[in-house]
């Protein structure tokens, strides 16, 4: 370890100040919830949002560096991911306000679970050791298992939670087994040391390779990449809709970011070897995401396949294995989060005579009964289909450009073809809204959902006017991994 190890001995614990503050806030809200009389749900949500905003400010103002003896890092990459995660989590909490009131889920643990899940994600973004990585993943997942089963009186929700928990545990097992293999064959869990040990690709033993695949599989379940996607439709459909919205945005970002960091930095020299795995998973995800979505009648289930497809596109950027590719992944994640959250806000708004509905046919004639909502959904659908000038187009643009620069024509072509297929089911929703005979109008939309949909819609629509800040930040973040 030598002299360098000596400097790591100083803990540099302030680097993790945002996570520490957020955790303390979480515990405080928990205590307040327990001791308070009356319903603490609404106030708890507000406090959680406040805690998220405070944390975001700390993240922005924090210094860069490596702390905790090389277990934890703060750099442009982690800051980018943490801010995106916090934004997604904030919007997720806001979305749950009204839904939980209606569905009799107004329990203060709900925002607290989201908060701790977010702490886990932030940990994942900063992980520079296999151990930190595992801790982050578990903290995030355990909270979400509970959230998925939060409507415990409802069969679908409990089943979703259980399913996710069992399969998630399997994935954790794979992950841990992989970690142990890697440690066994290299003698280290530290990303920097691993990178040094593996700088000669020829030295990678089969055992190590198997370990990498196991870790990859464990993380692939979190991003729901094929063939580890099977839980996604069932859980998305069964979980309470705000939970689904949350699951489809923030954890996806964190898991994808972690996967990218893991592949690019400790295993970066083995690019030629893991590249084809990512390519395979990417193609399979894009194909399945677009094909399976066609037959869906439930909007949430459709969104599950849609997110599988989107993760497939994001994996293209990782498969390129270049700085431009990683930049593409990050931009893609940003556009994905906003259009995804906006769509879910409008799905939550689908409520008729007090009952939530989620069928695609329930949208019939929305263009006449609620033009604003229909317009919003139309924007999100066009964006998801990748139609300019909406942000979804630009996300795909950066990804495909990176792939083409690396000569990965086949991947780009398949990506374009599957997005054509995907356009079918996205645009079918627009057809249902604007050309089918109107159904009964939806209930009045609460302001919180209009706000979330408005934020998503504005970002999606106006991104093309001023993409520079996002692109520059993504560029800087990607540079960390390759610089």
């Amino acid at each position: 370890m030598g002299g360098a190890a000596m400097t790591w001995m100083s803990l540099n614990w302030t680097l993790a100040l945002p996570e520490i503050v957020l955790s303390c806030c979480g515990m405080a809200i928990l205590i307040l919830g327990v001791v308070s009389r009356g319903n603490f749900f609404r106030l708890g949500c507000m406090l959680t949002v406040g805690a998220f905003l405070l944390t975001a400010m700390l993240v922005l103002s924090g210094a860069n560096g490596v702390g905790y003896s090389g277990l934890f890092v703060t750099d442009a990459y982690s800051v980018f991911v943490k801010l995106l995660v916090l934004a997604a989590a904030t919007l997720g909490v806001v979305m749950s306000l009204d839904y939980n009131e209606h569905e009799n889920l107004r329990r203060f643990e709900f925002p607290v679970l989201m908060l701790f899940s977010t702490v886990g994600m932030m940990l994942m973004a900063s992980a520079t050791s296999l151990m930190t990585m595992y801790m982050g993943v578990e903290l995030m997942s355990l909270s979400i298992y509970v959230l998925a089963a939060f409507a415990r009186d409802e069969l679908r929700s409990s089943e979703a939670g259980l399913k996710y928990f069992v399969l998630g545990s399997l994935a954790s097992g794979l992950l841990l087994y992989g970690v142990s293999l890697i440690y066994g064959f290299t003698g280290s869990m530290d990303f920097a040391l691993l990178a040094k040990a593996l700088s000669d690709p020829a030295s990678a033993s089969p055992g190590l390779v198997v370990g990498i695949v196991f870790v990859l599989s464990g993380l692939a379940l979190k991003v729901s990449a094929v063939p580890f996607h099977m839980w996604t439709p069932d859980v998305y459909e069964g979980a309470p809709t705000p939970v689904t919205a949350f699951m489809a945005s923030a954890p996806k970002v964190a898991a994808m970011a972690l996967l990218v960091r893991l592949m690019a930095s400790p295993f970066g020299h083995l690019l030629a070897q893991w590249q084809q795995l990512i390519v395979l998973m990417s193609i399979a995800s894009m194909l399945l995401g677009s094909l399976a979505a066609i037959g869906q009648r439930n909007f949430k289930r459709l969104m599950a396949y849609s997110s599988i497809g989107h993760m497939g596109y994001a994996l293209i950027g990782l498969a390129a294995g270049t700085q431009a590719g990683v930049r593409g992944v990050l931009i893609y994640l940003v556009t994905y989060v906003f259009m995804n959250i906006g769509t879910f806000a409008l799905i939550i708004a689908m409520r008729r005579r007090g009952r939530a509905v989620e069928g695609i046919t329930d949208l019939a004639g929305l263009g006449r009964t609620d033009p604003a909502m229909a317009l919003g959904l139309a924007v999100f659908m066009f964006s998801m289909a990748g139609i300019p000038p909406f942000s979804g187009f630009w996300g795909k643009y950066f990804i495909f450009t990176a792939a083409v620069q690396q000569g990965m024509w086949a991947l780009a072509v398949i990506g374009v073809l599957t997005s054509v297929i995907g356009a079918f089911y996205y645009i079918r929703i627009i057809k249902v809204m604007y050309f089918d005979a109107p159904d009964e109008a939806f209930d009045v939309r609460p302001a919180s959902l209009s706000f979330v949909a408005g934020v998503g819609g504005l970002f999606t629509t106006l991104f093309f006017l001023y993409p520079a800040p996002v692109v520059a930040a993504a560029e800087a973040a990607a540079k960390v991994l390759f610089g």
Binding site: V209, P227, Q276, I294, I421
Partner: protein
Amino acid sequence: MLYAVAVFAPLLGSVVAGFFGKAIGDRAAQAVTILCMLLASACGVASFVSLVYQGGTPGVVDLGTWVDAGSFHVSWALRYDTLSAVMVAMVTCVATLIHIYSVGYMSHDNSIARFFSYLSLFTFAMLMLVTADNLLQLFFGWEGVGLASYLLIGFWYEKPSACAAAMKAFIVNRIGDLGFAVGIALVFFTFGSIQFGDIFAAIGQHSADTYHVLGGTWPAFEVIGVLLFIGAMGKSAQLGLHVWLPDAMEGPTPVSALIHAATMVTAGVFLMARMSPLLDHAPGALAFVAVVGGSTALFAATIGCVQNDIKRVIAYSTCSQLGYMFVAAGVGAYQASIFHLLTHAFFKALLFMGAGSVIHAMSDEQDIRKMGGIWKKIPLTYTVMWIGSLALGGVYPFAGYFSKDAILEAAWASDSASGHYGFWCGLIAAFLTAFYSWRLLILTFHGKPRADHHTMEHVHESPAVMTVPLILLAIGAVVLGFLFRDQLLGEHWQAFWGQSIQIAADNHVLHAMEEVPGWVALAPSVLGFAGIALAYFMYMAVPSLPGQLASAFAPVYRFLLNKWYFDELYDAVLVRPLMALSRLLWQVGDATLIDGIPNGMASLTSDSSAQVVKVQTGSIANYAFAMLIGVVALISVFLIFR
């Protein structure tokens, strides 16, 4: 300036009536278009007079650049020379009279503003055509005329026959236009310009040019001449491409008058005169023109003899008279062809509008077998129809006498095989023309009334708004011939035409026609009177004779009645095979193959979707199994391919 007003006033009228007709009402739309036309004709006549009789200088009115690409420059420009000025004066005057006449004729129609807008657009397009300073602008007017004729022939678009006729006119013209367009391209290829001035100045340098295509060597001017003439054949309804003209009768009668007299069909003749400097160096193409012209003159006259629709008889006479004009152009007597064009414009407009007046009087009856005995009831119409027929038949001193005789004399004087062929065809056609004209007059106006009692009670003279234009046209049909004969064709023709018609140094046909043998000059008149006499004998003296003749020579009669079976021939040779081919391409090529590929891909996609979804069983065990299989697969891939 006046000249530009003459050209663009009809456009203004058309735009106002077309776009604001609903807002300002039919009356105002009529008033605006007619005022614009009156203005245009005043300016048109004024610019003609000032150029020819007051020593005005010919020139070009430049309106601005149109295309400026590489070596290809085209401007919007109005050519101001005698040929253009005389055409502008004629077109604006005749079109104005037709506009005024239409006020009466179309008074019961539902879309009057639209009709007047189209009429003015038609006039404007024709004016663009005759004032063009380059071939592209001429082509613009040419196509504009085609468009306007399509709109007007199909004016009563609720009638399927009118729509079919409009499409037929458009499609047949398209065939000719193709030849014309290729001709223009070859002119640019040869001369490097499509400005008339540049082309005519460079005639001498290129007269020996040749094209090497299809394994042969072709003289450039002959090829260009033939191609331009193919364009002219379409517009001017010459043999082979004439089939649209009789069907164009589906349009309202004023439209027929406009198409047959002032605009559209005369475009081809004008093109020949305009390109005279080039054509005069293409003797082969000219011979072709003369032969086609002569054949058309005779062919159309034979059909005219047996038709029973009053407008169709006159339509075939137009076809025939256009043949005369091409004979004149084909023997190098371009002046004579334009002279006949002028006189024909007046007497043919007169005949058509007179026929319109008859139809109006007979409660929209067009079959001359169901007319007769009405001459006392509509004396004015009767009189003008007489004058029109006398002019058409070539009786001294009516306008047609001078122009038709001049053409036949020129054809004889040209002393060439094609010229003599044109002469003999024209001579026989002159006899037939007189015959069918008087057949028409006698059947329509004389004899016992063959219409039913009800119709006969309603026979009445048309209102003044229709008869006044008839009278004005009748005056033109009487006096134009002897007024202009010597100026246009006499010893000093160059004083009139200036540089607008340039002929080769060895072209002396105008001089030679003054010295043809006496019988050549007399023959047309003699045969004309013979035709009139025969018509009188067959339809007035012995009315049973035509029926007996028709049954005695039934095959000949049917051949003529069915217009030489041209429509049937085209249907069998062109239309049906094309339809069959199109149906094949549609049903096999498009519906099966081209639609089949995306449809097949779509169903493949939805089938795959159904298969993919089947995997989603909902059982945790299955899911976990799939994950483990996935891990195994990934490890295998990794280990095998690394």
